[in-house]
Symmetry: D2
Subunit: 359 residues, 4 copies
């Protein structure tokens, strides 16, 4: 079987991660790397001397030897690059978020379906063993009814030049929330702050309401003194702490059953006789999520099927980001999420019309 020929557009921090991971796959031949910054390109040459270095995206997209395009450029360019690549008959993988508006995303989805090409977004966390295990427990009913989902994603870090913390860090949490819950909230409230003269929000609190009492909340912050990557998932049967900063034991499942009860010792605090049960930290596969993500892109092209984080997955996340952005611009007024433009689809839904792939 011939190797899949791939070009990576953008060789910044994340682009280099993608280059490293794709070039390590046996089924892949990294043909070209494209960036208008010649210094950045030249740094690539040292480690990947066989790769074509291209300052022109047009050259890459017109190269008939290339099967698939991986886009790791600033967010505002995701849509035009992805569109051009799909029109040129390439499979496309785009860094998160897939685009800057749902209308852009819908256009890309339609284009990909018409051309029978794979359109995928790099929602990296969906490819971690941690998130996948949590999802399997939720689906198996082990957690019970979901009560809340609380994510803290803060650090003192590099700040993108063109988007706010919501579109940067929040995209991760919306992708995880959407993946785990399998359904969308009915309204979003978001509040942000621009600090220290930064033109975009560096701090945001996001609240997502579901129609069944489930509530989700994100604390996103680029200007925090400590790095925290922690989610609490409260269920009626069990509770989960997913702490991505832990070296081992990233996921802890607490078997805490809460029952109504009268404690005679504490007359004035009546209830919630809680039982603090065992805690289990399952053994997780520690393979790099980005490697799995890259493999899924290749495999979905090979199998002519939709990837886990397909265009619809990208749509759901951008739709939530759009709503949160609108709420933030209205100083935290709730924004109702109307009917989705797309019919509800299972996460692994086959991509209808993805027929003959010309590899």
């Amino acid at each position: 079987m011939s190797k899949l020929k791939i070009a990576v557009i953008g060789c910044g921090y994340w682009g280099r991660n993608l280059i490293r991971n794709f070039s390590a796959l046996d089924e892949v031949e990294l043909k070209a790397v494209c960036d208008f910054d010649l210094t950045a390109l030249s740094r690539i040459k040292r480690n990947y001397p066989a790769v074509d270095l291209k300052p022109s995206f047009q050259d890459v997209v017109n190269d008939p030897r290339i099967d698939a395009i991986v886009i790791a450029t600033p967010v505002s360019t995701h849509y035009p690059f992805a569109r051009t690549a799909l029109l040129a008959g390439k499979h496309v993988l785009v860094e998160k978020p897939l685009a800057t508006s749902t209308s852009q995303v819908l256009d890309l989805i339609e284009l990909a379906e018409k051309r029978s090409k794979v359109l995928m977004v790099d929602h990296t966390f969906l490819y971690t063993d941690a998130v996948r295990r949590v999802k399997s427990w939720i689906e198996a009913g082990e957690i019970g009814g979901l009560l809340y989902f609380d994510a803290v994603r803060i650090s003192l870090g590099l700040v993108p030049s063109e988007i706010n913390v919501l579109w940067d860090l929040g995209a991760h949490d919306f992708s995880i929330l959407s993946f785990l819950c399998g359904r969308d909230p009915v309204s979003i409230t978001a509040t942000g702050r621009k600090h220290l003269g930064h033109p975009f929000e560096s701090l945001a609190y996001v609240l997502a309401d579901f129609d069944d009492n489930l509530i989700a909340h994100f604390h996103l912050n680029w200007l925090a003194p400590v790095k925290v990557r922690r989610m609490l998932i409260g269920g009626s049967k069990k509770m989960i702490v997913y702490d991505d900063m832990e070296n081992c034991e990233k996921v802890r499942v607490y078997d805490k059953v809460i029952s109504m009860n009268h404690d005679p010792e504490h007359r004035e605090r009546l209830l919630t006789g809680y039982r603090s049960g065992d805690m289990l930290a399952p053994n997780l596969d520690t393979g790099e999520a980005l490697r799995c993500m890259a493999q899924e892109f290749v495999q979905s092209i090979r199998d002519k099927r939709a990837p886990v984080s397909d265009g619809y997955s990208g749509y759901r996340v951008v739709r939530l980001l759009e709503a949160a952005q609108r709420s933030m611009e209205m100083d935290g007024r709730p924004v109702e999420l109307g009917a989705s433009a797309i019919s509800p689809l299972g996460t692994f839904s086959p991509l209808a019309g993805l027929g003959a792939l010309d590899q």
Copy 2:
């Protein structure tokens, strides 16, 4: 100098803590403990056989030998008990929150001033070395302009029978916020959830807006799998992490200077070049805060001055709680805080009219 004669009303969990701390003070004679629950009372007898055990509050309040009354009863009874005690000419210390409405609080303040009695609320955290040190740094300008205040106060714990998580846990954070900032927010937004059939909210997110871009946020939760007591305080010069669950090093000061900067290595994520500086964890006095609080009550009576957490401090907290409660009842609609009923007062303001004390 004769000892201050004190009665404690309510001998539940917190009441017993107060009994233990007041009885350890040399300047105090614990005369009576009052509770309508005779079993609870009888448990007190073992350790404090010399104390009068009284099932009737009226007996205690009418006892002319008693100088001061400490109220540790359910929140709904704070106001009537405190009112009766003040009318009977006693100094009064009340568990937080001081009462269930600002109008009640104002009534108590007025009464205390008329009778020249000390009215104090047990905002325990204001008596920790941690909070006091943070306040001193803020006042000295070492933190720079305040950007955000983020508090997480969650655990799986006993739940009071008559109030929600906002009035229980949130009272702590509002008292700390109010103390540290020295000014009040202009609006409050709060969202809560009732879980597992509990009649009151066990989860709440509270957001407080200040008129100068400062934002405060609380995550309050009785049904979390892990106990967290952590505040982040972001300033333009330094940032603070105050983690009350740490055995040592509860307060960490991060000397992180954030400056706008272009990082050539990360072309697409450019600004906010940050410098991660040293971290200092100062040596803190680890004495029990409740002991200091008890001493402050005694000392303010002796000195005929207002205590740190006086009626006005209680007013500010109840006013914020009221606003948050109203917002929560309106599904998270922001509630503007109008003009305060009281003129702005410094934290240590002398209590006007506190004249001749009859000890």
Copy 3:
């Protein structure tokens, strides 16, 4: 049933803990507290006004109303006080270590047996749920063959005036080791250091060899910057981390199976392919161990049986301490443990001859 009448000798830090715990037991009447330091005694009065305060041990031991004596005095006085008390027909509980030599301990055991009195030593950790659970797993074979036992017990703390770190902190680890393993090492090696002009060792490393390849090691240090209380227990099937400084999850059981294996990825580091399995942190009873210890003393008197930490338990620990002390004095030369003066006894062995108790 009449209450057990108890006197506590010594009201220093630990003595006060014992007073608090015994006075909280329904079956106990705390009759007297004895200390030659009148200031210390007077501090007791405040909280326990009904207790007789006695500066003379002789008065206490001659008081016919007293059934049992609890000794919390400096280590050098354990033996004379315990001996006198047993001769006076009292049941005796002694702070750890039981005495300063095995000959003293054997004398006390003999005396207690002759007089049919309970002789108990306060090996507090044997009454924690953590240690008991670990013991039950070891006995059930769940850990597999024991490979190593590594204890770190260090902190910056108060230093006793008359013993070294071995007899102070090391007594805990020897009691836990002895309890968990159910057998004694064949030789002990210990090395210590006196620091900062202190007349006794403030740092010690102790190594205990068993005849079946099991090795135990303690790191004991009074002059460490951080407080650590951590044991690693390596078994052929599972491994345990017992961290007493953890608020929750004090005990973690790692299901790590180690097998000989060739890892093709790492040619030069081949064997011991390990499988990193799940980790379980069981729900532990968090009751105060000292309370359970006090109850065991009372109950063993009531039941006319030997307590868990009986004289033999005290003997085993003192025998190990003696050997370690000898090794330390010989600059770390190994000291063989010869035949024990007592026949091997099960931990819960009934105390022969414990007949008619005169309560």
Copy 4:
């Protein structure tokens, strides 16, 4: 200036790390990688297609274009490979430990000096900012007199096929100890255990005595359930915790002054009125240590000077390992360290005779 042409021998786990770091240096041209394992070699090809892949060491060493040889092969081959390379006129960098005996090391040092070649050993930790900062504080007298050095280096990990845990993990701690203290212990005691059928010791405790009361202790273990990399350094003025598993704050300096003092509150525990002071976690450069090590190799060749971790540094570590090994074979009998074969040399001593370098 022409680039330094380098060959790496051995492309296992550590060899690949060295390849990655040397190939990233501008002043270096990675000419060849050598390994008898053709599969391992072929994996290198993907990322470094321009490098010559050589199954024969002789071919590499005979290649006149190559200036320097980096040896990352099993420990038993360090000496013959390094010797051959020096004889062939190459500069040589060897993975730690430099060789398996001091006589081998002395032979290599002599050879390197005769040929005026750089001989360096990869004591990686000496190139971390953490260790360098600690050394600078010790030298500046800020820590005071050194009391103890306690290292725990344990984990559940891959086990080398031909050496025990002492020569593997212990080499790190001896190199750090030697670097920080600037002098050698007078005797070494070591005890080890072979577990689970492994032919070499997987657990070892090592104790090093200095002539001035300083004591050093290592706990080395391949079969521990948790990964710990922690050193405590106790000084008479300050104490340091260096925890290499911490993401930030790897080094914490505790300003804890211990003074002799009588505490009237605790009659029976006299002294060590300790003052728990502030803790400072300095901002550390987080650059990869291996990169700095590689740069030092290149720079010392360029500058015709001895590198920080020169042959003498390797000698000191192997001498300590030899002594510990001998002690371990005698069941923990102390082994005196006689006079060193080399005169004491400062850490950065210029390499005498390192004259004309033919690059």
